[in-house]
């Protein structure tokens, strides 16, 4: 664990930019999964034109865990963002080393 008297080698600008991009990444991944579900409902599950058959079953079996994984990965991206922000807070708390 870093002690307050340690010096920090930390690029605050890069951290800020990464934090913002990680927030956007999580949003993009969730949005992709949500859009995929919507396109599926719109195009593949229309009551009068529903895709049916063995290939549909194989597709559904593949897609269900994929969608869960996409949302799980979005959560991981948010967790990474929290970890970056915690590291940034840590760096802020460290006194600059006297020159």
């Amino acid at each position: 664990v870093t002690q307050p008297e340690d010096h920090a080698n930390y690029d605050f600008t890069a951290a800020q930019e990464l934090s913002a991009l990680l927030a956007e990444a999580a949003r993009r991944v969730d949005e992709f999964a949500d859009n995929r579900a919507r396109w599926r409902a719109d195009q593949l599950d229309r009551p009068d034109e529903k895709w049916q058959g063995g290939r549909r079953r194989s597709f559904d079996q593949a897609v269900a865990p994929q969608q869960r994984t996409l949302h799980d990965l979005a959560t991981r991206v948010r967790q990474l963002r929290s970890a970056v922000e915690a590291a940034t807070e840590q760096a802020r708390a460290i006194r600059p080393r006297p020159r």
Binding site: N9, A14, A15, A25, G54, V63, Q66, A83, A87
Partner: protein, 548 residues
């Protein structure tokens, strides 16, 4: 794998619309991850790099999550992309089915924005499968070598087309089913990532006939201009046990082919053995028996060095085989004492192992006989073989011990020629401590105990829970190596005797209180002293004398 057959319906244009929207979004997301997020991650990590004096911000939490974002996320987006890309392909199959008469398609039939038919097609899965195979077969002959884009060869064009379908099992089966050896030579397809994936897909489909598999084997054995066979092809097949099983099924019916493959240069024949081991992992007891027999009777003559180079892979193959031969524990038959059932099971297993391993022992013996002037080399060979077996990625270290002991026997003979007269293992020959059959039966019973201890009885080898038990692993390793139990082993046994007995009770009576008392006494009494204080050492050493 081909989907199950049944009725099928879809609007091809809808499938294409879904596929196009999703793959477009996946590509955009992937581009952003690589082009924007990844450089930002790099810049951050560079700016927070640990200094040479070690002081810095604690980034462990960041590093723990990096893999998910840098690797898992792009990989998963790619997986999603390919899943959804294939939906367009299914749309094309439905459109073809419509044109083939499953829907009255006229020049007035609606066409959607995708260019595919915009109307529901009712067909069945079998028709769609046939369409996929037919499309693959059509590709085999469709490209005109006299009408190629500038700067492109026929091979380039085929590789490009095949890349679009490399994971479409039925398409690839159709393609390779229609090419034949001569056409493969004419096309000059190299074995690269695309062709290897297409080959694996085709084998996995189950739709590739023996003639096509034979042509492919010929082509990968030696392409014109490339006389050295490429080991990475069999390695790619080995990575897919289902594909490996199809190729192995062909080789089982073509022993001479198998022998030729195993006689090929070392790296290639090693890859063949790994492919066979992969296939073996999917096999039933009967299938495993057959594979062990066919390979055992087709082992080519080899020099010591050649054999030495294959010893590790052959050992892995044998130990996988020994595990597959185990099968499940026998069910408790209320008409019989479970003691008898278990005894019969273990005897049967021991006999199967005897028969299965015998050709390999003979093969080793021949190598020794042919090299008897070089005892040191023969000794090295056996030691290497035993080491290869012991280090093979197997589920049950006891089996490694059994095989190690078998080859230890060979080694013993090399060291002490006076034991030569005991080599003969006819049905009436005395069973000495060095008789491999004793070790095999020990392995059978030690496996039984392992399974019983784990309370599983369902799967071969050590169940996951037991594999994580470092103490048990330690005990089993010592037992397999024939070493005395040390303090750590005794400590583990003392702490687990009750667990062992509980597991025995559960497996013995299926969790019911009405366990056959004779079976129970047999299980907990001599020669299986599973008392609460767990005299495991006596158990391990007692098995050989009682079941040799």
């Amino acid at each position: 794998m081909a989907p199950p057959h049944g009725t099928a319906a879809a609007n091809p244009n809808r499938l294409a619309a879904y596929s196009d929207a999703s793959t477009h979004a996946a590509q955009n997301l992937q581009g952003w991850l690589h082009g924007v997020l990844e450089p930002a991650l790099d810049a951050y990590l560079q700016g927070a790099a640990t200094r040479s004096d070690g002081t810095n911000i604690d980034l462990r939490a960041v590093h723990a999550l990096l893999g998910a974002v840098r690797s898992d996320l792009p990989r998963h987006v790619a997986t999603v992309y390919y899943t959804d890309r294939d939906v367009h392909r299914v749309g094309t199959l439905f459109a073809e089915a419509g044109r083939a008469g499953h829907l009255p398609v006229t020049s007035m039939s609606p066409t959607g924005s995708s260019g595919l038919l915009d109307s529901v097609v009712h067909t069945d899965d079998r028709t769609l499968d046939a369409m996929a195979v037919k499309d693959g077969a059509a590709l085999a002959t469709s490209l005109d070598p006299h009408n190629l884009p500038p700067g492109k060869s026929l091979t380039d064009m085929y590789l490009s087309r095949l890349a679009e379908h490399a994971d479409d099992a039925l398409f690839c089966a159709g393609f390779f089913g229609a090419t034949g050896y001569e056409r493969l030579v004419q096309l000059g397809l190299p074995w690269n990532a695309v062709t290897k994936q297409a080959l694996v897909s085709a084998l996995r489909s189950g739709a590739l006939g023996d003639k096509a598999v034979g042509d492919l084997v010929s082509y990968l054995q030696a392409r014109p201009g490339n006389p050295d066979p490429d080991p990475s092809v069999f390695s790619a097949v080995a990575a897919d046990p289902q594909a490996a099983a199809r190729l192995t099924a062909y080789l089982l019916g073509n022993g001479a082919r198998l022998k030729a493959l195993l006689s090929a240069p070392t790296a290639f024949s090693q890859s063949v053995l790994r492919m066979l081991t992969s296939a073996e992992s999917t096999m039933s007891v009967e299938e495993t028996q057959r594979l062990l027999k066919v390979l055992g009777s087709n082992l080519p003559p080899m020099s010591l060095r050649e054999e030495q180079a294959r010893a590790g892979d052959l050992g892995a193959f044998l130990t996988m085989g020994a595990n597959r031969l185990l099968g499940p524990l026998p069910a408790h038959d209320p008409k019989n004492s479970y003691r008898i059932t278990l005894g019969g099971w273990a005897d049967c297993y021991g006999d199967m192992l005897d028969k299965a391993v015998r050709p390999y022992e003979m093969w080793l013996e021949r190598i020794y006989e042919e090299n008897k002037r070089s005892h040191q080399e023969a000794r090295d060979l056996v030691e290497n073989f035993a080491a290869g077996v012991a280090s093979a990625p197997i589920n049950n270290p006891l089996l490694a011990g059994a095989f190690g002991a078998t080859f230890g026997y060979v080694e013993g003979r090399v060291i002490d020629p006076a034991l030569a007269d005991k080599w003969s293992l006819g049905p009436d020959s005395p069973r000495t401590a060095l008789d491999p059959r004793n070790f095999l039966r020990q392995a059978a019973f030690l496996n039984l105990i392992t399974k019983v201890y784990a309370g599983s009885g369902a799967e071969n080898g050590l169940p996951a829970g037991s594999r994580q038990d470092a103490g048990l692993q330690h005990v089993l390793r010592l037992a397999a190596a024939g070493k005395p139990l040390d303090e750590r082993a005794h400590k583990w046994i003392a702490g687990n005797g009750n667990g062992l007995q509980r597991a025995l009770t559960l497996v013995g009576n299926g969790g019911k209180p009405d366990m056959d008392p004779v079976a129970y006494q047999w299980l907990i009494g001599h020669p299986l002293p599973i008392a609460p204080d767990g005299n495991f050492e006596d158990l391990l050493h007692g098995l050989g004398s009682n079941y040799g």
